[in-house]
Point group: C2
Chain length 163, copies 2
Amino acid sequence: MQDAIAAMTRQLSALRGLLQKAEDHCAARRIDPSVLLGCRLFPDMYPLSRQVQIACDHAKGAAHRLAGREVPSVPDVETTFAELRDRIDRTATLVRELPAEAYEGAETRTVTLKMRTGEVTFTGRDYLWKFALPNLYFHAATAYNILRHNGVELGKRDFLGAS
Amino acid sequence: MQDAIAAMTRQLSALRGLLQKAEDHCAARRIDPSVLLGCRLFPDMYPLSRQVQIACDHAKGAAHRLAGREVPSVPDVETTFAELRDRIDRTATLVRELPAEAYEGAETRTVTLKMRTGEVTFTGRDYLWKFALPNLYFHAATAYNILRHNGVELGKRDFLGAS
């Protein structure tokens, strides 16, 4: 369980690196950063900034729910690359503050999510593997894909981050 | 460890569903399926067909390496949606054939990969969390993003697959 939480914060750290390269790209090409932050792969998909916020929320949510704690609310107010990197840092801090022993029994803990379609109940194990992890990777990969699609020079190593 | 392998085959099964919807989309709009299979998000990224092949190879590789077995070679020859769905089915079969007891000690097993830059050695645990899992989700999400970018009607539920 803690391997999974560590993998999630590692992925956020890699995402932080992607955002730094994206900001540098904007500076070098005189691109307004807010344009890149507003880019989407299709009109009804979320823009880059929201992909980052959602990735953060999946890591924060997974760590707290699996640790049996209330999920702290963080408002979605970031409009710059620096603010999004700070959001990632604050998310990592929130996750690190949870004590290791809080994850005892996490696999069988009941996790209830309020979805648009109603409440959904998982075991901690199913919540992690069928919801939180694939969602976190999905939003991190989509952020990467938005940047690549817009010409930011990144490679798979940037997605995987420091090993 | 086996939860991770199950998550990987579940993700491939969801990817299979995406490919079926993509093929149906082509039929309904009279789109040549080979055009959609050749779509990329950027000229130096892999096309849809290759994203699917690589996702399959990460699941096959992870299961066999973590089970201490030689990784069976599967040629990359698929050119149609039906062939790619069959590739996913054959991958799932290869993974399912590995006995549960083969994963004993997988976390500490030495895994050596031949990369373009030379050999890289991981523990089984690091290989899973720092390489195989993020790579599999990356290629599955990129396949989804290529389809969404090209107007195929899919939602997050299609990415997550059956729970």
